[in-house]
């Protein structure tokens, strides 16, 4: 996008054109997501939870995406096949911070998995958030299914799948591209790849000879784009354009977002701050530069979110852990048959 100049006419400056009210809303959600992730990291490191994995650094792309989802349940609403870096999408949709904290502490009140799954693995049928799996890239295969359901339904709703650059080496990514572009039934899927440049510790350029991930679209003649995910307004516009295409044309669109990974891969890489571009700092600088907000305004936002997350964390600390016997719940939706073996051996 380049650096917009203050002197440029309002219409030419995307941030001025976007407006302070919307930017402040985005900023608040981005900060909320960042503060939440930093709290989750702290919980992991202090023994108030186990493994941490999440999405600090992706807020600049994920919040604009989440706010443009057609939210609801069933084929008339967007389906989201997310992964474990999607916390900012969840918050933008309206998820309460406390639920992610509950999953981090693996308490009985964790609404996403009853204390069974890692943090940032939601499942929310009311909003078509299908279960997030720790497996890499399988969401690109399951997105085919809701894509088919929506292709066979009169609707403007779409399927959105989100994953990382490392996972694009898996067959599921290519399954998604092939199935979404079948001449027999093209699918309304927004195929998102967040490219943070790494698969855990392995730099992308050492393993991927593609000129860009978005170039996979060219093989199928499908529209694709690469956007700077650290640029909030560019991200908003890229998502808006991609969604508008998929909603109207009922065909897939491949969107690659280049984002930072501010705390590394996960607990497994130490979860320490890494000096990469920070989408929130960039947004704040742009807004201050344009006179859209002050440093003090931002401090209030950070403080309010810290307080909200403090309160939620304190509450979760009072909540019980799951009873061991709850492992038998949900093996089958109707419960276990009486003679199912439950002793664990002799």
């Amino acid at each position: 996008m380049g650096n917009p100049s203050v002197a440029a006419p309002k219409s030419a400056d995307p941030y001025l054109a976007f407006g302070s009210e919307k930017l402040l809303r985005l900023h608040d959600l981005m900060v909320k997501a960042r503060v939440l992730e930093e709290r989750l990291i702290k919980m992991s490191k202090s023994g108030d939870g186990f493994f941490w994995i999440g999405g600090p650094g992706e807020e600049g792309f994920n919040v604009p995406l989440g706010l443009q989802v057609k939210k609801g349940q069933g084929v008339q609403y967007d389906y989201l096949h997310l992964h474990y870096r999607s916390s900012a999408i969840m918050l933008a949709l309206g998820a309460p911070v406390i639920d992610d904290i509950r999953q981090m502490r693996s308490v009985a009140t964790d609404p996403y998995s009853k204390g069974r799954n890692f943090v940032n693995h939601p499942a929310v049928p009311d909003w078509n958030i299908v279960p997030v799996s720790p497996t890499i890239e399988t969401q690109y295969s399951t997105s085919i299914g809701t894509g088919i359901a929506q292709a066979h339904t009169k609707t403007d709703a779409i399927t959105i799948v989100n994953g990382g650059d490392g996972g694009t080496a898996e067959g599921d990514f290519h399954s998604c591209l092939v199935w979404a572009n079948r001449p027999a039934l093209p699918l309304p899927i927004l195929i998102v790849v967040v490219n943070n440049g790494y698969a855990i510790s392995t730099p992308e350029p050492t393993q991927h000879g593609e000129r860009s991930i978005a170039d996979w679209g060219k093989v199928f003649g499908m529209p694709s784009a690469t956007v700077d995910g650290n640029d909030v307004v560019a991200s908003w516009d890229a998502v808006a354009k991609a969604m508008a295409y998929v909603r109207k044309e009922r065909k897939p669109y491949l969107l690659e977002a280049k984002c930072s990974r501010l705390y590394g891969h996960s607990s497994s890489s130490g979860a320490n701050r890494i000096p990469e571009a920070d989408c929130i700092q960039l947004l704040e600088a742009k807004m201050i530069e344009r006179g859209l907000a002050s440093k003090e305004d931002f401090e209030k936002v950070w403080h309010a979110n810290q307080e909200e997350i403090d309160r939620a964390h304190q509450q979760v600390k009072q909540e019980p852990f799951p009873e061991p016997e709850t492992i038998w719940e949900d093996v089958y939706s109707e419960g276990l048959p009486p003679s199912y073996p439950t002793k664990g051996g002799s």
């Binding site: 069933g74 084929v75 389906y79 096949h81 964790d110 609404p111 996403y112 998995s113 009853k114 069974r116 799954n117 693995h121 499942a123 929310v124 049928p125 299908v130 279960p131 799996s133 497996t135 399988t138 690109y140 295969s141 399951t142 997105s143 085919i144 299914g145 809701t146 894509g147 088919i148 359901a149 929506q150 066979h152 399927t159 067959g171 599921d172 399954s175 998604c176 092939v178 199935w179 079948r182 027999a184 039934l185 719940e329 949900d330 093996v331 089958y332 939706s333 109707e334 276990l336 048959p337 003679s339 199912y340 073996p341 002799s346």
Partner: protein
């Protein structure tokens, strides 16, 4: 009298008309072929997918979450190994989401030996299938059971892996499916596609009726009092035949229990039969190391040890990397009728 492939087709047709089935798909599942074993021939919602097992299972899972009750096929179970984590995901999605998502889907796939299928068309999948906890696994041995199990599988809110014994897909049973014509030539003329150009062909479906075989319920395929054979799939009719011959010869009264469902399995039926006979053989064609029958045998030892008159047995496939093409190799690798006969006689003969 329908064969098993026709019975499955009739159940899927019933599902399309009455149970909300809208998506039946897989490799070569739609026109013109209707499945390599013709189990989906002529169905109005059947369509061809890319040659991609992971995509097929992923698509089914996504459709299940959208409430579409899909029926997907993997052409041979031998091709399913590259999709093992997709299967695991089918089994754990409901549990992983704390019960928030149901997973109503059917995945059908031909399994086992008996068609000279060599290394990659003869696999049994029982042991792996029964480790996909959260998934139900069924395997019929008669057309009527196939019909009833498929209807139950479609209605189920959990993922159901429907294993079709390859060797039995052309076999006919003794009982009619409710609503099918008694004359199999008439049924053939109604629902089997003609050879050659099929572009204008449409099936004439008989008015088949609802019939459920509850998942988790075994069937006594042959009553007996002296020994129990617990089996399923291809080996069920063989065990029944052996039991019939032994009975005719006065060599022993053998009860054959056709499990029909591997998970959940009908422990109460197994228990009742073993309590009656005190002698049991678990019979399947999966390989020997970590065999599903070994689990049943272990549970028998744990819970029914003092009901047993003699040591319980397992007859199963040999633990080789594959099944060789030559009949000499295949027949030596997986149990044949003569093996069943020999082991059952041995079970009957051991002094209590």
């Amino acid at each position: 009298m329908a064969n098993m492939a026709q019975a499955i087709r009739l159940a899927l047709h019933y599902g399309e008309e009455n149970l909300g089935v809208r998506e039946i798909f897989g490799e070569d599942v739609g026109a013109p072929l209707g499945g390599v074993f013709t189990a989906t021939q002529g169905l109005k919602t059947a369509w061809n997918s890319p040659l991609d097992e992971r995509g097929i299972i992923g698509a089914a899972l996504g459709l299940a979450w959208a409430g579409f009750r899909p029926v997907a096929e993997v052409q041979f179970v031998d091709y399913i190994f590259n999709a093992i984590d997709m299967l695991k995901l089918c089994g754990n999605a409901t549990w992983m989401s704390g019960g928030r998502y149901k997973t109503p889907m059917v995945l059908m796939t031909p399994t086992g030996s008996g068609i000279h299928g060599s290394i990659y068309h003869s696999h049994s999948f029982d042991s792996v299938a029964t480790k996909l906890h959260g998934m139900k696994v069924v395997c019929p041995s008669t057309p009527l059971d196939a019909y009833g199990l498929m209807i139950s599988a479609i209605k189920d809110d959990n993922p159901v892996l429907f294993l079709e014994p390859k060797a039995l897909l052309r076999s006919r049973g003794a009982e009619l499916i409710p609503g099918e014509p008694a004359d199999d030539k008439e049924l053939h003329a109604m629902i089997d596609a003609p050879l050659g150009d099929r572009s204008k062909w449409k099936p004439r479906w008989p008015d088949v009726q609802e019939y459920e075989v509850p998942i988790g319920q075994a069937r006594v395929a042959h009553e007996g009092t002296d020994a129990t054979v617990v089996t399923h799939g291809r080996l069920a009719p063989i065990a029944r035949e052996v039991a019939g011959e032994l009975s005719q010869q006065g060599a022993g009264s053998v009860e054959v229990l056709d499990l029909r469902s591997l998970v959940p399995y009908d422990w109460e039926a197994i228990k009742a039969s073993i309590k009656k006979t005190g002698r049991v053989l678990f019979l399947n064609e999966e390989t020997e190391i970590t065999n599903f029958g070994e689990h049943l045998l272990r549970r028998t030892v744990d819970e029914l040890f003092y009901e047993l008159k003699v040591r319980p047995r397992l007859l199963c496939g040999k633990a080789t990397p594959g099944i060789g093409l030559s009949p000499n190799l295949e027949h030596f690798t997986v149990p044949q009728k003569a093996d069943v006969d020999r082991v059952v006689r041995d079970l009957l003969a051991e002094p209590a």
